[in-house]
Amino acid sequence: MTGRVGIIGIGQSNFRARRDDASYPDLVREAVALAMNDAKLDFDEIEAVVYSLSPDAMVGIGNAERLGVDAVGARNKRFLRINTGGATGISSVATAWTHVAAGACDVVITAGADKVGECGDSQTVLNKIWDPMYERSLPLGTINMLAMSAVRYMHKYGMTQEDMARVVVKNRRHASKNPHAHLRKETTIEEVMASRMISWPVKLFDCCPQSSGGAAMILASERWIKARGLDAVWITGLAHSSETYYMGDRMGRGYTADHADAHALRASFRKAYAMAGIKDPRREVDVAELYAPFSNTEFHAIEAAGLAGLGESPAMLRDGAFALGCDAGAVVNPSGGVLCTNAIAVTAMSRIAEAALQVWGRAGERQVKGARLGIANGNGGDHQFFGTMVVEA
């Protein structure tokens, strides 16, 4: 490719459990308008649209991207949709990057929205991601899928339920400073431990909420950005990697991947770091927005990102690492992360948006002081698709 690709506009809803005031296309439009205002662009300048939408069933409309065409101003323009489940948001930003890097366009918007809070029951929808003959009827859901990962991580590395609760306390504290976050009320280890058991050892407070809202980002070529004298955050590394589909391939004798860890996420980060020239992430990364919809998964995400050794992150968190104001190392999820906001179609986009705001110095109360290099990731499918990205000021 010739020249870098920069982020020049960001829009995020203030996510809520319900948005009865807005239809699905309205929510997309809300995010697009915020991003367009942020970049101070006219729609004529947008050359392509990458639409970010995970399972159709969440919004109750098949191929719902079609209804979003006018909401994103795509009429008679380049338009396509991406779906990699929970990773969709980061895959969409990566695809927007690809449009620019390929020289097809100078300015691309990626946008989407979700109404997870209004879908009835997201776990009923998500059960349908599994194979109808073998694993769907167990019944699997994303909560018990990752509860099994927690059990395995406990067995391998000695994580406790209190360690998990500590992640919730940290992220809720961060979210209290983020006006876009859905769950903004601070909590305590005791409250987390006392919350209702969902799927052992995952309790209600260890789970992400079901959120409604939208997000949008505008990317442009370095040439276009410099010609207009604009400010930008640069995407310097990006990658995807995937795990197996069948949960049975990650458990029992002869498993192909250990369900405690996230080996494909590690591989994805390794590729993104290589592209960005990062050799020592513990020293070089200032801020990390890691996709962790359940408290336990933040630990293996931190380790896959190379910010801690395998099994080391619970002890590091106990010692004060990863929190806003910590003495050294990267702050993890200063936005509150997925644990406090999950509108699935754009959750992974918000990870990049938040990392970009941090290195831009525009993160408000949740700003990590002096952040220059941020990382983000998104996980999709049954912990199957992993997108990663590096952003720099």
């Binding site: 490719m1 995970s54 006018d70 396509l80 995807h240 995937s242 589909y245």
Partner: protein, 383 residues
């Protein structure tokens, strides 16, 4: 994509009508398609750097159908994405991913199963829930509304559509004699003005293409190659009431992108053959106009040019008029042109074809439009 790596199609598999023998799962069919495409390209699994797939979750009966497809297509430990908006969008993204310089190769795959109890019911879920879903509006109904508008706008369009339909069937019978009959009894009304015989029944299909960059192709000595010289894609809005269904502005926009990139200034003289998306024969007529091959006032006089022995054969494969694997018909059009330019079209091969035009449309009444200009061998730079 000037200044970026040139992208070529080096492997193609088109299975437009898979027998439902009850012995092979979709996963097995996809794995076989991946292996066959790699074999056609002269490559192995180790050469696969990335994958883009496109499928329809409602037809597949899965909430995220890329999940099932990942392992059979070699996606484990690799970079795999999906573009569920359209099969042809997977081709667009595959080409862009190579042109970006991030990848040297991409496998592009789309499929369309027929196990859904009712494909029209699945399509009705895509209508907006407040206004259109209760009509009920499926894709055939949208195509019928489009045909009706075209008949109103262009007197005689119905008769022209009959000619296009007959031509498509004859071509299909020549290309796929085991699957397509040239003569089909006239059917009863389906959705007026369409008849049941005007749109073939859905069949299960799989299509896959292997793309690679110029340096990789040279380094590995791959061939034959169909080079992507121009690529355009655009969308119409979703609400049919917001559109003039007898015209295709998004197709004109997509064609302008592709032609501009390929240096095509006169589409009528630029191509040796074309494949157009024709869920109905009315759509083929609209495509001819949108692509700049024949305006509506010229349809009657110039249809003969688009016959197999005409100056610009259109749909030598028979198009969708012959075989209708619903979701992947658009990507098949691109694969057909690539195979023609690679000299791999077998029964319906046009000898000496050097430059081809592929048009793919998806969604209600051709909402999504994609145009690809492909060149054989070293390619050409201008028409």
């Amino acid at each position: 994509m000037a200044g970026r790596p040139r992208v070529g199609v080096v492997g193609v598999v088109i299975w437009p009508c898979l027998p439902d023998d009850g012995r092979h799962s979709l996963e097995e069919q996809l794995h076989r398609a991946m292996q066959a495409t790699l074999a056609d390209a002269g490559l192995g699994t180790e050469d696969l750097e990335g994958i883009v797939v496109a499928s329809n979750d409602q037809y597949d009966g899965r909430a995220i159908s890329i999940m099932m497809a990942s392992a059979p297509l070699g996606g484990v430990d690799r970079d795999i994405l999906s573009t569920p908006s359209a099969g042809e969008h997977a081709f667009v993204l595959g080409a862009l991913r190579i042109a970006s310089g991030q990848f040297r190769t991409q496998l592009v795959v789309s499929w369309s199963p027929t196990e859904a109890s009712s494909i029209p019911e699945a399509q009705r879920l895509a209508a907006d829930p407040y206004f259109h879903r209760r009509l009920p509006l499926d894709e055939l109904a949208a195509a019928a509304l489009q045909a009706n508008v075209l008949e109103h706008a262009v007197p005689g369009a119905g008769a022209l559509a009959e000619q296009v339909l007959a031509s498509g069937r004859r071509n299909g019978a020549r290309a796929f004699p085991d699957l397509v009959q040239a003569e089909v009894p006239r059917g009863g009304p389906s959705r007026w003005p369409l008849r049941h015989d005007m749109v073939p029944p859905p069949v299960t299909g799989v299509v896959a293409l292997m793309l690679a960059d110029e340096a990789f192709i040279a380094e590995r000595g791959l061939g034959p190659v169909a080079w992507i010289s121009g690529l355009g894609w655009a969308t119409e809005p979703a609400f049919l009431g917001d559109r003039d269904l007898a015209t295709a502005p998004a197709l004109s926009a997509a064609a302008a992108q592709a032609y501009g990139e390929a240096g095509v200034t006169d589409a009528r003289a630029a191509f040796d053959l074309a494949e157009v998306s024709d869920v109905t024969p009315y759509q083929a007529l609209i495509a001819l106009e949108g692509l700049g091959l024949a305006s509506r006032s010229e349809w009657q006089a110039r249809l003969a040019e688009f016959a197999p022995d005409g100056r610009l054969p259109v749909n030598l494969s028979g198009g969708i008029a012959a075989l209708n694997p619903v979701y992947c018909t658009g990507l098949i059009r691109i694969a057909e042109v690539a195979n023609q330019l690679r000299g791999r079209a077998v029964r319906h091969q046009k000898q000496g074809a050097r430059r081809g035009l592929a048009h793919a449309a998806s969604g209600p009444a051709m909402q999504y439009q994609t145009v690809v200009v492909l060149d054989a061998g070293a390619g050409r730079t201008a028409a």
